[in-house]
């Protein structure tokens, strides 16, 4: 090999290993935290402990989720730095991953072995995952509302209700586009969970942690368990969003805000935070209270 070879070639090993590493740290770790938080939409009532007594299951989920999200957005230090690190890692992992994926040719038709299917699925889930993450972050984090059906602006004060609106397609319940977005979420999240669990399994081989077939099989069981756990978390979060009701969730959130800021400051907060399209329903929320 000559010395004129490019940067990528010279650092081939490092880049490959960093690609593997970033998939686990920080991306994988974040995925676990993120899905755990989101799944609280389903089980939050039990997380509230004494506070949750007598609260309906759905409301409990909204309360807990909202609290967690608010905490993350207001209490976690260096949030922007963390986010930038995360986004950079995802970008790095995605760009290299897509490039690496193009160096192979799937052959499951001739060699329909389970491992080979996972190889192929790992690449498909990577491609779809990249698109999904971009959509997900752009719409719900960066506020590119023109990509959101119904134009819902997600906000952490109204984390559950705006999420429900964004996925169902409107603040008034399901729309056809909302259904499409929800299906995309279901697929995207499921594929990413697979991608992570399977990646965890292959990483152990890549780094040389699992050598014998027995070790690989054992680690496979662990990774499957991680995958199943995360899948349940993801699906339960989505399930809660799919069965959730915008108005009901919003009512809970407003009540929480009221408790937090008191009646007097509530309007200030609302004006600042409420998405434009939700403005007309604002009055009704306040009046029902």
């Amino acid at each position: 090999m000559n010395e004129r070879q490019g940067f990528l070639d010279r650092h081939h090993f490092l880049l490959r290993r960093l690609h593997s590493l970033t998939g686990i740290l920080p991306i994988g770790v974040f995925l676990i935290a993120h899905l755990t938080t989101n799944s609280s939409l389903a089980w939050g009532k039990y997380g509230l402990r004494a506070e949750g007594h007598g609260v309906p299951l759905v409301d409990g989920g909204v309360m807990y989720f909202n609290k967690e999200v608010a905490w993350i957005n207001t209490q976690v230090p260096h949030l922007l730095l963390i986010e930038i690190t995360l986004w950079a890692s995802i970008l790095f992992h995605s760009v290299l991953g897509v490039y690496y994926a193009t160096t192979g040719r799937s052959n499951t038709a001739r060699y329909p072995f389970q491992d080979n299917w996972r190889y192929t699925l790992q690449r498909i889930s990577g491609y779809i995952g990249v698109a999904f993450i971009f959509y997900h972050v752009a719409t719900l984090r960066w506020g590119w509302t023109f990509l959101v059906p119904g134009g819902t602006q997600w906000s952490h004060e109204f984390s559950a209700s705006t999420l429900i609106a964004a996925l169902q397609g409107s603040t008034g319940g399901w729309t056809p586009v909302g259904l499409a977005v929800s299906i995309a979420y279901f697929l995207g999240v499921s594929l990413l969970v697979f991608h992570f669990a399977n990646g965890l399994w292959t990483a152990a081989i890549t780094w040389g942690l699992t050598i014998s077939q027995q070790a690989q099989r054992r680690w496979g069981v662990v990774c499957s368990a991680v995958g199943v756990g995360l899948m349940l978390a993801a699906w339960s979060a989505l399930g809660a969003v799919f069965v959730g009701d915008y108005e009901a969730a919003r009512a809970v959130e407003v009540r929480m805000l009221k408790d937090k800021y008191g009646e007097d400051h509530l309007n200030e907060v609302l004006e600042k935070q409420v998405p434009p399209h939700a403005a007309e329903s604002q009055a009704s929320v306040l009046s029902t209270d």
């Binding site: 090999m1 290993r17 790992q122 081989i205 780094w207």
Partner: protein
């Protein structure tokens, strides 16, 4: 067309087929042919009488002396590579019914038990075709040079015995050492692609066979001396990191070599080597 072959020929199916197969029947051999590099390929079918014990080789031999297609057209004998005919030389590897394997150990009774059954033969797709079923696997031998797959002995003079070795360690090395460079692992590997330009061989994915050889020689007391060279050769583009863990290699290896274990073991060595190199310097 490959989907048609998706079923597995497991040991049970093969045994059942062998018991069902009637002697004196004829089968159809459908062969993908090509007159030479850059020439178009075509399919030709041949009707071949078979007996118990017939294998793909005996069928091809029959065609060599009776080169007439099922349409009654006279054609040229099919060209194919073969050697030992007992699955130790690796020469006669080809794609049979969509799956790579040695043709000598492919018994007709097991794969085409009924009158008129079709068996499809294609050349390996990951190597340039020389003619018909014969491909050029020089790149595999080049890979062995790339990773210095040898023990650097001082010379052939009498210098006493080699290192002592436990039976367990010998068994482990023996298993790795059975690789006959047939290329099954590469044909089935989704990361290993055909590369007819030798200039690019050193930067294209090297595949399981050579990685396994790296492990074999790094496990030998004297062979270890070149360990760093071998690992470095595998850490660049086309090295071990390009493995996608599809693990087809280990499933199609006719010698049952634990290729995926070798990949993992060498993966570990490269990890350790990278850290040592970083902190210790070269």
């Amino acid at each position: 067309m490959s989907g048609a072959y998706a079923h597995e020929y497991n040991a049970e199916t093969r045994r059942a087929n062998r018991q069902r197969a009637k002697p004196g029947r004829s089968i159809i051999l459908k062969i993908k042919r090509c007159d030479g590099p850059g020439k178009p390929s075509r399919w030709e079918s041949f009707k071949v009488p078979v007996e118990p014990g017939s294998n793909v080789i005996s069928c091809l031999k029959y065609i060599a002396s009776h080169p007439v297609t099922t349409d009654g057209k006279r054609t040229t004998p099919v060209v194919w590579d073969s050697g030992c005919l007992e699955e130790v030389c690796g020469a006669c590897t080809m794609v049979i019914n969509g799956r790579v394997r040695q043709s000598c150990s492919c018994l007709i009774d097991e794969y085409a038990p009924d009158e008129g059954d079709t068996l499809t033969l294609e050349p390996m797709s990951k190597f340039p075709v020389i003619r018909d079923l014969w491909v050029d696997r020089e790149r595999m031998f080049h890979a062995l040079r790339r990773v210095k797959a040898w023990v650097p002995i001082d010379g052939t003079y009498n210098l006493g015995p080699g290192p002592k070795e436990s039976p367990e360690h010998q068994q482990m090395r023996y298993a790795l050492s059975e690789c006959m460079t047939c290329g099954c692992c590469l044909e089935a590997c989704p990361q290993y692609l055909q590369e007819s330009d030798p200039e690019k061989w050193d930067t294209s994915f090297i595949g399981a066979a050579a990685i396994n050889q790296v492990r074999l020689f790094n496990e030998h007391k004297t062979g270890k001396r070149l360990k760093a060279d071998r690992l470095e050769a595998l850490m660049g583009p086309g090295g071990i990191t390009d493995c996608g863990n599809a693990q087809n290699c280990v499933k199609v290896c006719p010698k049952g070599i634990p290729l995926t274990e070798s990949i993992a073991a060498v993966g570990r060595s490269t990890t350790v080597h990278a850290f040592t190199r970083f902190f210790k310097g070269r």
